[in-house]
């Protein structure tokens, strides 16, 4: 299971990197979203996938799942959600003001 997850995470990172390297700003944002999914899956794999019951100790469960990575991912998802929303709005506003969504045309001043 861990090997499979590692392959999936690697695939997501590949796709994310590929998309972040493109010119179109919307593709870049989608790339960061894919990238973050990879990071979240990596985090939960690092906590250990084999396990068992919920971590309720007084129920007599000996084999229980580590709950910390899940708490971390939940926080990270929320943060990433906010950042992606802000980034999309920024890209839209940038498109209306600057008249382009091509990163190549968003370089510094001409006189530099």
């Amino acid at each position: 299971m861990e090997t499979l997850m590692a392959l999936l995470v690697g695939l997501l990172f590949t796709v994310g990197t590929y998309m972040v390297l493109s010119k179109n700003i919307v593709r870049i944002i989608l790339g960061t979203a894919v990238f973050s999914h990879g990071a979240h899956l990596l985090l939960i794999t690092m906590g250990g996938l084999k396990g068992g019951a919920a971590p309720l100790l007084d129920q007599g469960n000996d084999a229980f799942v580590d709950s910390l990575p899940q708490a971390l991912i939940l926080t990270a998802i929320v943060i990433n959600f906010g950042v992606t929303a802000f980034f999309l709005v920024l890209a839209y506003r940038g498109y209306t003001e600057l008249g382009t969504d091509d990163m190549n045309q968003l370089r510094g001043n001409k006189d530099e």
Partner: protein
């Protein structure tokens, strides 16, 4: 347990939330932002006295004992930085009152400054790697808004790149935290330090350490600084000054924490790498600073040189060099805010950012000119001013350890910094007056006073070094002996 430790972060959060409700009451927001920032400074002064008398203060949120709960740790190093941030923020806020403009003010400018402060201070105080990530994000989200607020073309253009770089580096941070959790099974910094020491930092842990180095290098503009000059040139002066003074310093703080507390066991690899990166940062930053003719660029490259210099102190990793780095860190927060404010004022007065378009300002604005001269001297490290002691101690540490190359680069880069700033001083304040006074914007007192205040602070810091040295020494001792930090957090000693 000391409940005061959470207050420096709690006060700006609450103040920011209140400000959101009173969107159109600008005067109220101004007063509240000053009151809140003063309150942070006040609480921090009390905490510093407590830490001096009783040792490191901690709070376990919700009564969950570490390593299970969230823990906030106030040690001397973090608290000194919190205090300096609050003081610098007061000056930048006063500058913003007269320069930021009504439009930005009604769009929650002051609230976001408070959230930025909350994120910065939270990053300094947290004792847990994941909360460091969260506080980083709080700070970054506020900074995204501040850099884009106003919606000018250059702001939108630069903020797109700034946000992208920071989103990617935050993902890398998350990934490295995940690897570290997988390797040692904890994220509490004190427990991490213990477990990494037990495992003697093998190959995998050193690799993770280098991943953290890349992440914090991106955040603090150590070597990976390509995003900084553009981003810091875009926002209005008061915001740029806040960024220049605070944001990269949080990355530097994180580097200090991770490489003195968690990963100090393989200095041959990690600290050598830090040294190489610091040297390259100083060289490239200095080259950038002398290459440009655009005031904002020159000032931005000066931020980069300082980052290299402070990290050089960490890379050398002896008591004097760490002490020197802390002195220089405090000095740099004050001086960089002042430099950004002065550069912004010159651009505001003349409406020009190119050096060749400006000249002879000192005839019309003598106080501004001499304040600029003070900051030039301070950044170059001329004795009675604040930069001197840091430069001496770091260089002394470098020579003691035999890192002659690093010492040479540090000294050489300060000469280039001096040259780059004197170029601004010579071109814009001396020389022939290109514009008459009536062609320029009038200088507002509200812009001049924060600059004079920061210059006085820089002078006071340089002259009062005797009074501060005990605190800085204590901060450096905690950094050099991780056991103090671990005992305070995990064993309540």
């Amino acid at each position: 347990m000391n409940n005061l430790v959470i207050f420096p972060m709690l006060i700006p959060v609450i103040a920011g939330l209140i400000m959101i409700v009173f969107r159109h009451q600008i005067t109220f927001q101004r007063v509240l932002s000053i009151v809140s920032t003063l309150a942070i400074a006040g609480v921090t002064v009390v905490l510093i006295q407590q830490v001096k008398a009783q040792g490191i203060q901690t709070i376990h949120l919700g009564g969950w004992e570490p390593p299970f709960g969230i823990v906030f740790v106030g040690d001397m190093f973090a608290l000194i930085l919190v205090l300096t941030s609050a003081v610098v923020a007061i000056a930048c806020l006063f500058y913003a009152f007269s320069s930021i403009g009504r439009k930005r003010e009604t769009f929650y400018f002051y609230a976001f400054v408070q959230f930025l402060l909350a994120g910065v201070i939270g990053s300094f105080l947290t004792g847990d790697l994941f909360n460091l990530f969260v506080c980083f994000e709080v700070m970054l989200l506020a900074s995204y808004v501040l850099i884009a607020l106003g919606g000018e073309k250059i702001q939108l253009r630069e903020s797109l790149k700034y946000v992208l770089i920071n989103v990617l580096s935050s993902m890398l941070f998350l990934i490295s935290a995940g690897f570290l959790y997988g390797a040692v099974g904890t994220l509490n910094m004190a427990q991490l330090a213990e477990r990494v020491a037990e495992a003697e930092q093998g190959g995998i842990l050193t690799t993770i350490a280098i991943l953290f180095l890349i992440v914090f290098g991106l955040k603090s503009a150590l070597f990976l600084f390509f995003w900084l000059p553009g981003a810091y040139g875009a926002p209005p002066t008061a915001v740029a000054a806040l960024f220049g003074a605070l944001l990269t310093k949080v990355g530097i703080y994180a580097l200090f924490r991770t490489f003195t507390l968690i990963f100090p066991h393989e200095p041959g690899i990690t600290h050598t790498l830090l040294g190489i990166m610091a040297g390259a940062t100083m060289l490239l930053g200095a080259i950038g600073a002398i290459a440009y003719q655009d005031i904002k660029r020159i000032v931005s490259y000066n931020v980069i040189v300082a980052v290299g210099f402070i990290i050089a102190g960490l890379a050398i990793f002896t008591m004097p060099s760490i002490e020197g780095a802390i002195y220089y860190l405090i000095h740099d927060m004050i001086a960089k805010a002042l430099l950004f404010l002065l550069a912004g004022t010159v651009i505001y007065l003349t409406g020009q950012k190119w050096l060749k378009e400006i000249g002879g300002l000192i005839r019309h604005f003598p106080v501004l000119g001499w304040t600029f001269f003070i900051v030039v001297l301070a950044l170059a490290g001329i004795p009675p001013l604040s930069g001197f002691i840091g430069k001496v101690l770091v260089t002394q540490g470098a020579i003691m350890e035999g890192s002659y190359v690093l010492a040479a680069i540090a000294l050489g880069s300060s000469i280039l910094v001096l040259y780059s700033l004197l170029k601004i001083f010579k071109n814009s304040f001396w020389g022939e007056a290109i514009m008459g006074k009536e062609e320029m914007e009038p200088l507002k007192l509200g812009m001049l006073i924060p600059c004079v205040f920061l210059a006085a602070l820089s002078l006071a810091f340089g002259l009062g070094i005797e009074g501060i040295s005990a605190y800085v020494t204590q901060a450096a001792e905690t950094l050099m002996e991780p056991s103090k930090y671990i005992d305070a957090v995990l064993y309540n000693q």
